[in-house]
């Protein structure tokens, strides 16, 4: 591990201090804050984004994305064929904009990670079972209620059943969901138990303090011991306001800023070896179908039905999006597009995500911005191709009269199931697909071998003291499922062990 630089400065104003300073309030940070504060430690939570009230979050997508999404969703990979990487930037992190899907880490994945990276204790099956159960109770996790399945999910169920594919209703942290289909903009009733309405206030109730609008740049060390973080106040647009500010940590700093920004902060702090390596994601693509009747995407749980195909590296999901995003996926321009938009209620949209094999890396630009080098492999593209073909087949099986595969070089509109084979007729080049990713992993990978990892099985950064990483960046591989629950469980377990160690 490179020797940390940046000795403690004296001219920077100190904003706050606590036993633990946690950077980020998403699934990892909020969970760590909840555990440590309840164990009696003083905690400060730092969040770059704003603190938003669910009741007042805007419905119009541009306003909502500008408020709660990092760079309004425009951060892209720096590959030859780039695609966007979507992350939340608000109190609650990405849990404030996701659909609240809850998946336990699949057992084969858990087993492989534990075995291959020496993470047997962190990923101990019995411990995770206990923690999953607790989180699921606290966050009101349940399968989507039939009453809020919505037309989009219901049609996917029909399509899957017609093709003999085994699907299931989605489990979400939103037992009281009333089907507003506004997860991306923030649940107006606060039914989704994202971190800003669950673990963040719970930690605050146990004395944790929250500073929103605070961007951390680096960790400061005394010798090899992390003692503080330094950053700056930012406004809602992310622009710096005022000078540099320090927050001191008596016992430790926990980075939970996600798979891009946790590695970036580590690198800015002089920790370079293997930091930012091993980045991976679940690339996703959406397919839209038009029906000769109302689908009703505007009502129902945002993602109510799914078809896991783990042996194929795929997961298919219904995906109800705000009209702006749905409209952008509908082909045509001019009057053709306009005609389709006048019947926006007749469309269903489903997505496929793939457990990509590609590995990339996170670095910073000269200006300190993240640069994510990540290029999908031919095998990854082939997986996406099959997922898109399956979605198209399911849409026709569910009764769609038109399907829009969103693959360049193919007809924009498929009018019958016999055309689905066009999608898989020949290998696709990556640039013919339109992709995005919101499940990001790696960059500060965990492992028992310091030569292969950044953090140890207790999620402490190798080679220094008092510095931990608790978020998706510690996963040495992607999971094949929505990562929120796994992030929370791993952060919970590591924070619990940290609290116990301090007590002892």
């Amino acid at each position: 591990m490179t020797r940390p630089r940046l000795p403690m400065g004296r001219s920077i104003q100190t904003l706050d201090d606590a036993d633990y300073v946690i950077v980020g309030t998403g699934a990892g940070g909020a969970t760590a804050a909840r555990v440590l504060s309840e164990a009696g430690h003083s905690v400060v939570m730092l969040e770059e984004g704003p603190e938003l009230s669910p009741a007042t979050r805007p419905r119009a997508l541009l306003d909502a994305m500008a408020q709660a999404m990092r760079d309004i969703g425009t951060l892209g990979t720096a590959a030859h064929v780039p695609f966007p990487l979507v992350q939340g930037r608000a109190v609650g992190g990405s849990t404030a904009i996701n659909s609240g899907i809850i998946w336990r880490m699949p057992e084969p994945v858990r087993h492989a990670l534990a075995r291959d990276y020496g993470l047997e204790e962190l990923l101990d099956a019995a411990a995770l079972e206990r923690i999953y159960g607790r989180i699921e109770d606290e966050l009101e996790v349940d399968e989507v209620d039939e009453a809020v399945m919505g037309g989009n999910g219901e049609l996917m169920r029909r399509g899957a059943e017609a093709l003999g594919l085994r699907g299931q209703k989605t489990a979400r942290n939103a037992r009281r969901c009333r089907g507003r289909a506004r997860c991306l903009q923030g649940c107006p009733e606060g039914a989704r138990q994202s971190m800003e309405v669950s673990y963040v206030p719970r930690a605050q109730a146990h004395g944790a303090r929250l500073h929103a609008g605070f961007r951390v740049r680096q960790v400061e060390f005394e010798g090899r011991v992390a003692r503080a973080v330094v950053g700056e106040r930012v406004d809602e647009d992310g622009r710096r306001v005022g000078g540099r500010v320090r927050v001191r940590a008596r016992r430790g700093v926990i980075l939970s800023a996600g798979a891009i920004h946790s590695p970036l902060i580590l690198r800015n702090s002089g920790l370079r070896a293997r930091v930012g390596d091993g980045f991976t994601a679940h690339p996703g693509a959406a397919v839209v179908g038009r029906f000769e009747h109302s689908v009703g995407m505007g009502f129902g749980a945002t993602q109510s039905y799914q078809v896991p195909l783990f042996d194929r590296g795929l997961k298919l999901e219904s995906l109800s999006l705000p009209p702006e995003l749905l409209a952008a996926r509908i082909p045509g321009s001019g009057d053709v597009w306009s005609e389709r938009l006048r019947h926006l209620d007749d469309f269903a949209q489903w997505a496929t995500i793939a457990r990509a094999r590609a590995r990339g890396r996170v670095r910073s630009t000269l200006g300190g911005r993240p640069r994510v080098d990540y290029e999908l492999t031919a095998e990854d593209v082939a997986m996406m191709q099959r997922g898109i073909a399956l979605l198209a087949a399911m849409l026709f099986a569910a009764g769609a009269c038109e399907v829009y595969p969103g693959v360049s070089g193919l007809p924009e509109v498929l009018t019958g199931p016999e055309q689905v084979s066009l999608i898989t007729a020949r290998p696709l080049k990556r640039q013919r697909l339109h992709l995005m990713a919101s499940h990001l992993f790696g960059g500060a990978c965990a492992g028992s071998d310091p030569a292969r990892s950044v953090v140890d099985p207790e999620l402490r950064v190798h080679g220094v003291e008092g510095l931990h990483v608790m978020d998706a960046s510690v996963f040495p591989d992607n999971l094949g499922v929505n990562p929120q629950h796994s992030i929370m469980a791993v952060a919970y377990h590591a924070a619990e062990r940290l609290a116990e160690a301090q007590t002892n």
């Binding site: 594919l165 009747h293 995407m297």
Partner: protein
């Protein structure tokens, strides 16, 4: 309205009208979704907001996208005009060509503009209402679903032929009309 976005300080003076012309062309003119100017769609403001909040790289892409689209009559048709100088119906046709352009970069940039256009459109209550998107929410989803309607048996090979795991999907027969 045209220059409201330029006032936010992120666009050059002529880019506001360009954004109005280009993004407006996505929605068409005839019997279109935007029934009248009073619908309150402000394309330039939507574009300016995206420009201001995007990463530096994406903002550069957005600006390039606007210039490519606005000047597409020049580099695509060889006409000495901007998109705003073309009749409405020709604008839509030109955008369709750009959206399906062989270059990945051009396609993605046009998709970004289309997203801007959609954001501007659906920020207007009248457009949301005309689209019918919110009807299901209002009706608490009494959605009438039909049975699958597929007209012939079709064996769809989704997995490679040499893959020994079963993956072939057969669609059920379509009901007689």
């Amino acid at each position: 309205m045209l220059f409201s976005a330029a006032a936010e300080g992120t666009m050059m003076r002529f880019e506001g009208p360009w954004a109005e012309a280009v993004l407006g062309a996505f929605a068409g003119c005839g019997d279109s979704l935007v029934s009248s100017p009073t619908d309150g769609v402000d394309y330039a403001a939507s574009y300016a907001r995206m420009l201001r909040r995007a990463t530096g790289r994406a903002a550069l892409g957005l600006r390039l996208a606007l210039w490519l689209a606005a000047l597409s009559p020049l580099w695509l048709l060889g006409k000495c005009a901007t998109l705003a100088g073309l009749p409405q119906e020709e604008r839509g046709e030109l955008l369709a060509r750009l959206v399906a352009h062989p270059s990945f970069a051009v396609r993605e940039l046009m998709l970004l503009l289309k997203l801007c256009a959609a954001m501007a459109l659906f920020a207007a209550p009248a457009v949301r209402q005309q689209s019918g998107y919110d009807e299901a929410q209002a009706a608490q989803s009494d959605v009438r679903l039909r049975l699958p309607r597929v007209d012939e048996r079709l064996a769809l090979r989704v997995w490679p032929a040499n893959d020994d795991r079963p993956g072939e999907v057969e669609l059920p027969p379509r009901e007689a009309p």
